[in-house]
Symmetry: none
Subunit: 208 residues, 4 copies
DNA sequence: CATGAATGAGGTTTCATTCAT
DNA sequence: GATGAATGAAACCTCATTCAT
């Protein structure tokens, strides 16, 4: 009836929600099965193990994300535009796969230590390189402040964006692009009123 | 239960480190005991349960933090100065009790749902009120931008600060006050070069 | 249940090989299905259960074996010739249904305790009677040594023959009759050089 | 009270009996625990896994056995005496650790395929070398028949001895040395009356 | 204070079996 | 005849917790 890959995707989505809500380790395989309307053992018809479920969730997320990032990085944009595009891309990913991003944010530090999840560590290194390069290019070009440690800035931007996955709800009133715009406004220009600033007053409340 | 509060504090510190590194649920009581150089069962001479260990860690953290926050809030500062003081206070707490903050950041969402940890939810509500009030005072006073949704800004600031606990190392080259200063520079003024800005070039690299 | 007895026989042969190689309990129904090129569930079109598969394998083996044994026992041979004929018959069975014999050898002790496999215990009793009678007839007739406990000799002969199923390969260089001949040479006359012996030098290497 | 290594040995002995009786795979960890008077989970205080239990049983058996074998092989005996000593040693091992030998006999073929049990395969190769060398020495010296394939003889002797572990009971009427003597009488001189033979009539019934 | 040994609940996983298609 | 998906029982194992010593 429903073709197999579709069922798999449903189950992965269900599992991702539970993992995101309870934490990977605190989530029992039975809770996932409950949420999917089946018995715990039945999950093993579709997946090898609990580990393989998160692995598939995280790989799917990273593959898609890097697809978007690579497109941005290959577009030959300036540093500020690159940053804007990367952040927008990230919020789109949060919009589409919020639970996967939340899992990534909360669990990858602990998981990355395990051989099976070495790809997480690899991806983290690529993130760092990507962002540092962009920030340093911006520093050299005079569009990003020179008085900030780029590694500190990198962590600031990285965490600030991903942590949004823990509260973002895709059914809110604003598109991911709109949220990205407001986030970028804060990250780039700060929340304080600047001497030269001309507030445009367009920002509105974002539903939780 | 026992006469030696110093041993207790050592054990709590050890437990906090393990919890912070592995996650609460993924940490076994035996791992804590290993790290403390004793057998798992021996921990129960000092503590009632695993839950009571995190509880004590988190209560200790929150008590200390609110001590500092209340002092700031009672000092009659302006919104910008209040914000600066709160963020500085937070980094001091990260400096002193990094693992506790990391646990709070990662686990409190899941724990808060349980009766025993209702104090976490209460504290979260107090956080929200405190920050929203400060941000709104700042908005009314014209020191914080009016074009940003305060609830979005609140989450942005909150996450941005606490998440630092996951990478901050107390043995780094900079004092928590210095890190707070740089963080505030980013949050308040952004990472982009502003038209009116006079970079002072004092920021330096912060060791991980 | 089904019209194709040939398919059934194929499946039984496949199952017997897997059981012989891995042991009955350690063999999963899925492994058998894999070896047969189908899914586990599909086996249940042909057989009622895993138990019924071994049962059929073992019954088939014992029926055929007793057919041969009964022919020998009814032929009115002397004890030494009876023994030679029984051993030869056994090696023919090993040749034709090696895996079934190996299963019988390894699993029948454990299976025989179960009601369903009572026929194994019955067959074992018949074996014992048959061999003991033959050996005792031979003792009385002076063709078998009188200084050996017949029950010990029985076990010696029985195990010595059946255990060969675990290494015998039907594609070796020697016919089962030839192997039986050499085995009988050892069992009857020993491996030591006898004072009166006239070695004929005909024995050759037997392929594994 | 009872010191730890002693408890361990008790548990291993209990486990060995159950494994020998039911087969490794068919034995549940709970059955072992039942036999030991504890709960299944409690076994894991003493052992890492079911696998590690058999491993320890088999290693213990092989270590002890090779201790005895090496002493024999280093004694500079002739081939016939070497064979007699090895068989006697084997029956002593069956006497002391019957269940371990039975497990070895029934399970080692299947287990040896697994990395963890590679030591079984190694030991099997050493067995083969040891026996083949002895048999060939005997063939060259004219004490073992030259008309038999040594590899066939090797299997015959090997199986014939070990398989006795499946019926031997240490509380029987005969010492292991006495059983070895009778077994050697059969293996060396056969069960048939030889032309030159002088039966001494000393052999008696051996209780099962 | 700490250990060694155990408990008991529950977790992940396996597996024979069923059944609609 | 076979598949795909699921069931349910039971397997192995983990782990917080207890307690006599």
């Amino acid at each position: 009836m429903t073709p197999s890959p579709e069922r798999r995707r449903q189950l992965l989505a269900t599992a991702a929600e539970v993992f995101a809500a309870q934490g990977y380790s605190a989530t029992t395989v039975r809770r996932i099965a409950d949420a999917a309307g089946m018995l715990a053992g039945s999950l093993y018809y579709h997946f090898d193990s609990k580990d393989s479920i998160v692995e598939e969730i995280l790989r799917g997320f990273l593959d898609e994300l890097w697809g978007g990032y690579d497109a941005v990085l290959g577009a030959g944009l300036g540093p500020r535009e690159t940053m804007q595009a990367l952040v927008t891309e990230s919020f789109r990913e949060i919009d589409r796969h919020g639970p996967a991003v939340a899992i990534y944010q909360k669990e990858s530090a602990a998981l990355a230590a395990r051989e099976r999840f070495a790809f997480l560590a690899a991806s983290q290194r690529r993130f760092e390189t990507t962002w540092l390069t962009t920030l340093e290019r911006g520093g050299a070009a005079g569009v990003f402040r020179a008085d900030l440690d780029p590694r500190l800035t990198y962590r600031f931007v990285r965490d600030t964006v991903w942590v949004a996955a823990s509260w973002y709800r895709p059914d809110g009133r604003h598109s991911p692009e709109e949220i990205a715009r407001q986030y970028l406004a804060m990250v780039l220009d700060g929340i304080a009123v600047q001497a030269s600033e001309e507030p445009d007053g367009t920002a509105q409340s974002i539903a939780e």
